[in-house]
């Protein structure tokens, strides 16, 4: 009943991690494995795609905090898109939006990246 996969796209210094299914404590290994492939690929920018994430619980947010810790150590930046308004609110409550800015869709996340580079 593990209903979560990360679809990873690598393109130069950009990595897009699409979180598909339920982001919970059970997702941790898959998130970290995918993350480590962004390291080997020397990606500097990571986009988290939540448009296929159905459910995120507090343990799933802790998985993202672990990811954030490692990304900061590796000097990679994290951005996100596709969260529902409810989960944007939850991420804001926790403070995550300050560290992982959220964009409405992939195009605007990519545009923000262009601008900052």
């Amino acid at each position: 009943m593990q209903d979560f996969v990360v679809k990873l796209e690598l393109d130069g210094t950009l990595a897009v991690m699409s979180m598909q299914g339920d982001l919970t404590n059970e997702s941790k290994t898959r998130v970290i494995n995918a993350y480590e492939r962004t390291l080997s690929a020397k990606a500097r920018h990571i986009l988290l795609d939540f448009s296929h994430t159905e459910y995120i619980n507090s343990a799933g947010m802790s998985v993202l905090i672990t990811l954030l810790t490692r990304a900061q150590e590796a000097d990679q930046d994290l951005r996100a898109f596709g969260l529902s308004p409810h989960f944007q609110k939850i991420f804001d409550m926790v403070g995550l939006l300050k560290y992982i800015p959220h964009f409405e869709d992939r195009a605007s996340a990519l545009a923000s990246l262009e601008k900052d580079r």
């Binding site: 919970t24 507090s58 409810h86 409550m93």
Partner: protein, 147 residues
């Protein structure tokens, strides 16, 4: 299975029992959301309720019932006057209040474990939360949403 609650012609409570196994909190969450809809909660507040119920169930499974599958977590849904009252019942002994407020910065830096957001979210998403122990040695997390 017979339940009585006759004041104000309010409906009898709805009860949902799930095994203490990760994933089943979603059944409790969906049932709570459906009940919330029936009693007139808006879509936005139902989303808040969903997250609060899921987190309370996971805590009941993990800290209360230590993930023992055959020990159920019970969710009891009722309306009292103009308040939706939801009890999440486990067989544990509860915990000391208040719990230390999580600090994101410390979690990122590793000073605190990454976990520990459940109660923080529950408290912000519902109108009232109470934790009590019953005479039957059960622990109850009570969530209230004003209708």
């Amino acid at each position: 299975m017979r339940i009585v609650d006759k004041q104000h012609d309010l409906p009898s409570p709805v009860s949902v029992v799930i095994p203490s196994r990760p994933g089943f909190e979603k059944v409790a969450m969906d049932a709570a959301s459906s009940y919330g809809k029936l009693v007139g909660l808006s879509a936005e507040r139902r989303d808040d309720l969903r997250t609060a119920v899921a987190e309370a169930c996971i805590n009941a499974m993990e800290h209360g019932n230590r993930f023992s599958d055959e020990t159920g977590v019970e969710l009891i849904l009722r309306v009292r006057k103009t308040t939706l009252v939801i009890d999440i019942v486990d067989f544990g002994s509860g915990f000391r209040h208040p719990v230390k407020r999580p600090v994101l910065k410390k979690k990122i830096s590793g000073e605190e474990p990454a976990r520990g957001w459940g109660l923080f979210l529950i408290e912000r998403l519902v109108d009232e939360v109470e934790f009590t122990r019953t005479k039957q040695k059960k622990h109850v997390t009570r969530l209230k949403m004003h209708l």
